[in-house]
Amino acid sequence: MTLQPANTGELQTIAHDARARSTPLRLVSRGTWPAGVTGGVVASTSLDLSLFTGIVEYVPGDLTLTAGSATTISEIDAATAAHNQWCPLLPWGDDGGSLGATFATATTGPCARSLGTPRDVAIGVQFVDGTGALARGGGRVVKNVAGFDLTRLMVGSWGTLGAITEISIRLRARPVVDESWTLYFTPGDIAAQSRLAALRRGPLAPLASEILTTAHAAALGFPRASALIRLGGNTAFVAAARAAMREIGRTEPCDTTVWSRYRALDPHPRAVTANAFADPLSRRIKMLFDPAHVWNRFECGTGAEGKS
């Protein structure tokens, strides 16, 4: 069975019912997630959140954006690109995936090191939890310490505490120059590897740098490429970074669209494991936010042991 709430009120009713009847719910937003990631959830009822969609507020001058959790990554990308901005997450996976799933699973992407992870980017959330409460943490401004941090609690909670309905995020200006390169060096070349590591740690650090496996390189059409590099900044900065990169090995320019193809390969799969959320403190949180233990019950974890 699939339930599809149209608004937070309906979602609250579903949450109350599920709690009262102990009906396990499987949260689905855009449904693009590989089975390996969410397949661990045991539930015959799906909770379809796809109607919580659309950009609620976007003020380019503030570099902040608020959107429904089912809004796709590509929608956010298109809206912000029009103002030369972006949501710096550019997460692993398909861009048809949702903002909500990205934050619920704390999925990062190749630019996370330089531009931030979901916990850095989220500035506020709204959610309905397992008690049926509609709650809000944080807000729409970039700095905020009012109250205990429900935003950090929800980011990475994998839908085990409730459903995120809306998220506010900080954006960044797109770099003036944004160029991508393939980098070639011999697999066992320790010197080249340490030069790449030094570049990543230094003041000319690339926006992204990924060592490619043979399989990923082939899938992208660069059979022998060792690494994928993305340089971003103003003209003088990128020129210096490019020169430093060329010290490492042979380089070839490539189209920036390579990154969405690479992200879609999902090179860093993640999954809930048996001992996730199982420590005593996490179990207490689970009990306080989902007392009936019905939200995204993972076969292998989420403290089934703590169920009352």
């Binding site: 310490v145 941090d149 609690l153 003041p203 103003n234 900065f237 009990m287 936010f289």
Partner: protein, 471 residues
């Protein structure tokens, strides 16, 4: 009570368990003037083990307590109202600095600036730099999720803390780490950061250290109207430039600073100045400097001057960092606010704040983290003067309402503490406040750590956990 004092004295030594009214006086305030609460007793453990033993003794006695760092907080967060004050300032050991991984593990009482000083030989520093950094502690920073001028580019405390060992109020010891992507877990560390002493006591903290920038360029832009300075701020942010810091000071602040020992050479006839710093790799920095200068001029800056050397840079920053102190000399008390507003709205908000100040006949001094939209409209006043106090109070609550009404928040870095409790109900609906209470209950089901702070107690439903929640 005498029994508890005896137990605690046993743990820490009589010297460090204070019970006399005269001794406790020093702990009756934090840096928020005008608030005074006498602790029942103050206990100052000297080691992490002693701290754990103290927390366990307090648990056994069912006694509420308030952790305290340096007491530089600006929201009344470290005040203990007839409960035990747990002072952590003696825990000032820097346990390790690892230049390779660029991390440090410290005890909570380590002073913020002391950590950066210790990291200096490795070309590193601890990036969050509250203006109180020469006094405040890393433990206090963690508990407040402290910010500072350079957090515009580098991020606040949350973005720099990697792990913490915490003694929960029931004496349990937990290690909280930032979750990694491969192993899903609740972000318990993220939840702890900014919990204002209500979730337990941090006894060691691992933080990220940041390489000192290759180059730093500090500019002072001089404006004949605060409106222009605010517009320049919004324009710099909207243009996509990310300065390391972007601070605004108005005429009242400039005059207070320039007539103090911290005189920094700010133009005393300016209506406002912006202190703008860009840093990073040498390559490309000039372009950012040029863009900042161009935008400031286009918005009406009379002059943009650059610090020519480290000494001048230090002087420009000293004026900013000591501005609160300089204001403090204007009157016996200082009302401090910390609201954040959307950055595109700075100019209209500042204009309306000025109107509020005039109407209530109070003197607002603005000195704030403009790049983040984090306002600090401060009002020097005499709390002994009932009429003036009432006017200050009225002006402050109007300003707060104004900031909330444009989608802002009541505090960007100082915390709610006891000072902003009443505004929490304006900010958040009841269910959100209750959800916050539940998060707290996971850490401190008895609500003994820093009782009565952050969320108004009547907003927390009675203990609604399922049986077994104590396991």
């Amino acid at each position: 009570m005498p029994e508890l004092a005896t137990t605690l004295s046993h743990i820490v030594g009589t010297r460090y368990c204070l019970t006399r009214a005269t001794e406790l006086l020093a702990y009756a305030t934090d840096a928020l003037p005008g608030n005074r609460r006498r602790p029942r007793l103050a206990v100052m453990p000297g080691t992490r083990d002693e701290t754990v033993a103290v927390v366990r003794a307090l648990y056994a006695a069912g006694m509420p307590f308030v952790p305290r760092g340096a007491g530089t907080g600006l929201s009344g967060g470290a005040l203990a109202d007839n409960v035990v004050l747990l002072g952590l300032q003696r825990l000032r050991q820097i346990i390790t600095i690892d230049p390779e991984s660029r991390t440090a593990t410290v005890e909570p009482g380590v002073v913020n600036a002391a950590l950066s000083k210790a990291a200096l030989p490795f070309g590193l520093h601890y990036a969050p730099d509250p203006s109180s950094q020469t006094a405040c502690t890393i433990g206090g920073n963690l508990a407040e999720n402290a910010g500072g001028p350079h957090c515009l580019k580098y991020g606040v405390t949350l973005n720099h803390v990697l792990a913490a060992t915490v003694v929960l109020p029931n004496g349990e010891i937990v290690s909280l780490t930032a979750p990694s992507e491969e192993t899903p877990a609740y972000d318990l560390l993220g939840a702890f950061v900014g919990s204002e002493g209500c979730f337990g006591v941090a006894i060691d903290i691992t933080v990220r250290l940041t390489p000192n920038p290759e180059h730093v360029h500090t500019m002072l832009a001089d404006f004949s109207s605060i409106d222009d300075a605010a517009r320049a701020t919004s324009a710099i942010i909207a243009a996509g430039i990310l300065p390391a810091a972007l601070e605004l000071m108005d005429a009242a602040t400039i005059q207070a600073v320039e007539s103090s020992i911290y005189a920094a050479g700010y133009p005393i006839d300016a209506a406002a100045v912006l202190l703008v710093e860009v840093d990073g790799a040498a390559d490309g920095l000039d372009d950012d400097v040029e863009a900042v200068v161009r935008i400031c001029r286009a918005c009406g800056a009379r002059m943009v001057r650059s610090a020519s050397d480290a000494i001048e840079r230090g002087r420009l920053w000293q004026g900013r960092k000591k501005a609160f102190g300089a204001m403090g000399r204007l009157a016996p008390h200082l009302a401090v606010q910390d609201a954040v507003v959307p950055r595109s709205q700075l100019a209209p908000i500042l204009a309306r704040m000025a109107e509020i100040g005039t109407r209530h006949n109070v003197r607002i001094c603005n000195v704030f983290h403009a790049g983040d939209g984090n306002l600090h409209p401060n009002i020097p006043y005499d709390a002994g003067n009932a009429d003036e106090s009432a006017r200050v109070h009225a002006a402050m609550s109007e300003i707060m309402e104004l900031c909330i009404s444009v989608g802002g928040t009541i505090t960007g870095e100082h915390g709610v503490g006891s000072d902003k409790l009443a505004y929490m109900e304006r900010m958040f609906p009841g269910d959100s406040l209750d959800a916050m209470c539940r998060l707290r209950d996971a850490f401190d089901p008895e609500r003994r750590a820093n009782p009565g702070k952050v969320v108004p107690s009547h907003r927390c439903k009675e203990w609604h956990a399922a049986p077994g929640a104590h396991t």
